[in-house]
């Protein structure tokens, strides 16, 4: 009787295949279709949203097995095996512009991210303020 074990996929191979498939799908967002939305038509205009996308992903898995050496009594030792894996990812998207096509022709209107700009300006202002304070302190020490 044939067991057919040779054709069966090990769980680790199945997981490995799934990882490969998932990572393969990650690279689908490198297409223009991922950046530009489907055109929306309203009041004689067609609008398309353009966005920036950043996606990163990493996965890993490993397996191992071992056997205990035979004991003094000659009995074979017990064996064991184990497998584990993990992964992580990051995804980020931000609208950059709106493209409109209508009677006036084609217009590209930039989209401003007020939160991001505000945080950047605040951080820059903080860095400049710290530098100015350090310079003033240094000047006082030099004069004193």
């Amino acid at each position: 009787m044939e067991s057919g074990m040779g054709n069966e996929q090990r769980p680790l191979d199945i997981v490995s295949q799934r990882i490969t498939d998932t990572i393969g799908r990650l690279f689908d967002i490198a297409r223009p279709g991922a950046v530009f939305s489907e055109p929306v038509e309203a009041e004689g205009y067609i609008a398309i949203t353009a966005k920036e996308i950043v996606t990163g992903m990493g996965m890993g898995l490993g397996a191992g097995s071992g056997e205990e050496p035979a004991g003094e009594d000659g009995k074979p030792g017990s064996g064991g095996e184990g497998a584990g894996g993990g992964g992580g990812g990051y995804s980020y998207g931000r609208p950059v512009a709106v493209i409109s096509i209508g009677r006036d022709g084609v217009q590209v209107t930039p989209v401003l991210d007020a939160t991001k700009i505000g945080l950047a300006l605040l951080t820059a202002w903080g860095a400049i303020a710290i530098t100015t304070m350090r310079m003033r302190r240094f000047s006082r020490r030099s004069l004193g």
Binding site: I19, I23, L26, F27, I29, A30, R31, P32, G33, A34, V35, F36, P39, I46, I48, A50, K51, E52, I53, V54, T55, G56, M57, G58, M59, G60, R94, V96, A97, I99, I101, G102, R103, G105, V106, V108, P110, V111, L112, D113, K116, I117, A120, L121, T123, A124, W125, A127, I128, T131, T132, R134, M135, F138, S139, S142
Partner: protein, 90 residues
């Protein structure tokens, strides 16, 4: 895996959209970095190519937010650097 497979920088054109005789083709630029069991993709809109009855015009898509953020970071870094240099001179 070869170096060009690991790091890939490409400009691609999307599907053409047509309205009232105006044909627009969106363009995007992507950076793809691959490593075993992982990768990173940065994709951003680049421009729209407008074709009006044979006259072609390319309108760039400017990411104003990115310019402001990097401008602020650059200015702060410059002030920090100049502050350090001036402090040492005194």
């Amino acid at each position: 895996m070869q170096a060009q497979d690991r790091l890939h920088w490409s400009t691609e054109q999307g599907e053409v959209i047509e309205k009232d005789g105006i044909r627009i083709t969106p363009e995007s630029r992507s950076l793809t970095i691959r490593w075993p069991n992982g990768g990173l993709v940065w994709n951003r809109p680049l421009a729209v190519v407008v074709d009006r009855g044979g006259t072609t015009e390319r309108i760039p898509i400017v990411d104003v937010t990115r310019w402001i953020v990097w401008g602020a970071a650059g200015f702060a870094a410059l002030v920090f650097l100049l502050g350090g240099i001036l402090s040492r001179r005194k």
